[in-house]
Symmetry: D2
Subunit: 350 residues, 4 copies
């Protein structure tokens, strides 16, 4: 059994790790930490885990975490960068669900996150944890920077088009919408039921922290495809807040530069062997509840009237494929387990 530690297990990505790992056949959580809830049984905070997980929150402690095989960080940004080095030194693999190691350019990170980076020297060794793009690198990594929830959906949706080099990189649009758990488990008026339910809105239309992460990823794809030699992707990204708990839906728009491409066949071929990307039949519209609680990402491609505009519809669960499930998928790869170990359960429907 792989021993797993979780730092910062009180938030929604933390409890999602616990939910999934509770029935993982080859891993068990042995340490969970929380500064604010130290000494409290996990089940007191999350009654859904009563009788299933008997652990008690403890203070983060490197010696204790060093006894794990893998340590997850399910903390706000800024925390992992202060602790990761000491854990890596002890030979423990680290999977960071926060934003700390996702962006390679330190100045960009510091600009968007408004603070000095605490461990810039570790950034080069961090592997971006998107298995569909980086499976081999993940297998050999010690430090995984798990992608953000929006970036996972947008990158998986554009990936086949980027690799095929068949779209105009100067005008990409990602119109995304997320369930409210993406805002975390903090008391805030903006996330109250009475404010969010029965309503919908865009936010951060003029700039969101996930934008530089997505652009970095798309640029990498473009460079790898030989389409460009340098950063040149121009993306407009508008996130929206959905009155649902879980789920991200991204509606992507691009203009084909090669009208002869069969986009349906392109997507099907690209993802044929991916265990967690499902390309729907032509004409489909994926619904977020088809991936609720599951690690699956479902994609449909449309090309209205056979024109140049290609529309990609992508759904994922922001807490699963968009965070904790993807982290466990990375753990499975690192540890040589079946990639879908502990991640095979279907979505909860209805």
């Amino acid at each position: 059994m792989i021993k797993v530690g979780i730092v910062g297990a009180t938030g929604y990505t933390g409890v999602e790790l616990l939910r999934l790992l509770a029935v993982h056949p080859e891993a068990e959580v042995t340490v969970i930490t929380s500064r604010s809830e130290q000494g409290k049984p996990v089940a007191d905070l999350y009654p859904s885990l009563r009788g299933i997980i008997d652990l008690v929150f403890s203070q983060p402690n490197v010696d204790q975490l060093a006894q794990c095989d893998v340590v997850f960080f399910a903390t706000p940004h800024g925390v992992a960068q202060s602790m990761v080095a000491s854990i890596l030194e002890r030979g423990v693999k680290v999977i960071d669900l926060s934003a700390d190691f996702r962006i390679r350019d330190v100045a960009t990170w510091e600009s968007w996150y408004g603070q000095t980076h605490g461990a810039p020297e570790l950034i080069p060794q961090a592997v971006y944890g998107l298995p569909e793009l980086n499976r081999e690198a993940i297998a050999n990594a010690s430090l995984i920077a798990c992608p953000g929830c929006y970036p996972t959906s947008v990158q998986l949706g554009f990936l086949p088009l980027m690799e095929a080099g068949c779209i105009d990189l100067s005008d990409l649009i990602a119109n995304s919408a997320s369930g409210v758990s993406g805002a975390g488990r903090q008391a805030s008026i903006g996330a109250l039921h009475a404010e969010v339910s029965d309503s919908f809105k865009a936010y951060a239309a003029s700039g969101h922290r996930h934008l530089p992460e997505i652009v970095q990823g798309l640029n990498d794809m473009a460079v790898a495809a030989g389409a460009v030699s340098d950063a040149s992707v121009n993306l407009t990204f508008v996130p929206h807040l959905l009155p649902i708990n879980r789920g991200i839906h991204s509606t992507l728009y691009a203009n084909l530069t090669d009208l002869s491409v069969d986009v349906q066949a392109l997507f099907e071929a690209r993802y044929a062997n991916e265990p967690f990307v499902d390309v729907l039949p032509a004409g489909s519209h994926p619904q977020t509840n088809s991936v609720r609680g599951s690690n699956m990402c479902r994609i449909a491609v449309h090309r209205p009237a056979g024109g140049a505009k290609v529309i990609v519809l992508v759904v994922e669960d922001n807490l699963t494929k968009g965070a904790s499930g993807q982290g466990i998928q990375c753990m499975n790869i690192i540890c040589g387990l079946a990639e879908n170990a502990g991640l095979a359960a279907p979505a909860l429907l209805p």
Copy 2:
């Protein structure tokens, strides 16, 4: 008091007319018809109207409707076209909330709605009921074709840009999302709470009936602005289904051809005197609950990093400004009443 008849008052646009007209200071509903519910008191179907509206559904009858000053059609498409002529002949004004008279090109209408049009000779006299565009024509019209819910939001969002002639007409995108009341009050599995709630999806990504209506409107604006001499707007329109009852949110994307334009000022100037269009301060993000049950349309404009991409965020209540409220606004104009008579109540929040 203006006497109002409503044909087909059992659906959601029908009950919305009743809700608004119940407290209209200068109009009263005198006839409501329904073939299926004939003889049943309105309040049996809609308990919210108990003690407020005492009418009973009757069979549609031209003699009876002829005693009204204004007759609303709140019917599925295909119904109004079979009855309107006989009502107009009796000198009664008709406001049609359905799609029957929105599209000028009969072949286009027949293609999208899958049936032969029953009154093509009336189409030329129908005035498209968007007061912000057609106020004078509405004032003198006998037959109003009320805009669809999506088309209202998309056209109001693009209107200032179209009139200013400052955007590239070859690549407009309307990414819209509607509450489920837009699907009407018909029993269907797809509109069940267990299917819709806690979920989100796109639909009709390859073509929706509101597309030709929007394109017709945008083309008209372009021609009026002298930007083009003929139909040439290229619009991509993707509707989505929100797990809310009321509300439409449209996120519009266009590329500025003139980077010097101050889009915030442009919108504020265009709508300065409009009673039902509210341009929010720069940096805002309108939320659908700010217009829940109200006839207001709220708009915000963004231009990320000051670039060429302009993003317009538009919210309206699909049953109010998107249907019945707009119909009453047209009635007020036709009848010479204050345009906001009966429409002044704020949104229901929370």
Copy 3:
């Protein structure tokens, strides 16, 4: 026009007062206060009021409030008791939506609310603002203690049975459920969308602050009916939290002591002339959305298999008839206006 002041207008009962008074034909809000939001336009906090209410939050100031005819307190408990005396002295009527003056026994109030009462000398002159019970006293009052949301529904549901003296007072049950706006507009994890939506729970099953208020009211009814000479009603009250924004549903259980009573006729007779209580036909089940945003209370009575158990189903909007609407109803009575002035609009459905 009656001049209205609102102290503490930032919460949900405050914005509900503003929503209703915005279209009240004979009242206008002239002062709104908030310590925390001083200087901010109301519409910045509540975009639904943009273009409708142009007031700015000010510091509470007795001289300013003294220029009003009526002042509402929409504050947490403890605030009104510190300010009311100085306002009453200036001849201004006060309608308190908080709990400060609802309970006559000071010790009981202090025990449930955990603080010393700041104005016990005013309690005797406060009139409990339930018009169906106290209409005449309200008309002559200077200080109104508006009933709580749960207490309104429970008392209106039991009232006809209490007055008829036909139920066993030793075992009454009120199983109530409230929408989440009842918890107010404070940031708290328990009221987050991700915690409340798609879920349901009881709370305070062993004792809730509204229990002593309801018991006081029921005891008064019993004494008035001559059923008892002293406090003797035994009520079990269990509130529940609904994943909806507005609405209270109370399911009341009592045992008939007189099996010959026609409970349907009893309720219909009692409320025949009440403008805001609607007794549904036998066999009905009122739904909270039939009163959403309305001041109406709807009631149905059941007696399964014609036995001794009587079940009363009561719905109201907790923010309207359960708070602000009822306050305005009291204001109308005090000021000699039509009791339904500004309160005639039907519920928002769907």
Copy 4:
């Protein structure tokens, strides 16, 4: 591997069986039938199962079903009774999730379900599938009548009190509320999102089909406890419709006849060894989302002010412990598997 057949797999209990059995370690679904969807892949109806379950709906066929070890009926009432005999004859175990074999008295069944029973001769051999009550009988049964969703919650909530003989049987109350999936996956206006969401109501307050089933169960408990010699429990049962997809919450009321009983200890002792009943600490209030998608039933007991009234709060997922999960629990018992095989996953939270 145990071979499982499912008759009528298109409804919500059917897809719930598929969801749970998809990851059951010792069972696999080999046949699924549906008259209406014959020939269609399961995943076309339920995209959540794409890539996980590759079966195609077939016509019900006894020869094919006879090759299974266990056959589930997830059909409306009336179907199982017409097919079960022929399947039992072939030596196959049958677990019926419908109401066909729950009620022993044929006349009572026929009265509540409005039709003649098609297989009254099988009723005596049917075992009521509530493991907490009937574990041994289930182990040896060939035909299981799975309890209804409401009856499971009400019976588990009253069970310890009934067995202890410490409550007044003449006045029990079950105030229950269910998510909308309990109404099944049929197109109906009453279950539309726009009718159900943001609302709440009671229904069938004067009599619901689950009432005779619950009363039968409670009477059995009373007789077994020696409290009575015959049917004598008097239960008032009022179901309510919640705007959630999954979950039942029952609030039970009874009067203690023995004030010395420690109800908390009583419940904890009774359920100490039950894998799927969790008694919460004193003072708790279980929330339905703590069992969303899980087979767990959580219970809390209250006794306000230490009086005679005992309040039991019970939550379960109506599709899991209230239907399909309980059916699989029975299957595990019949087949000699670990009782929690395939049922160990925690609830989906948030």
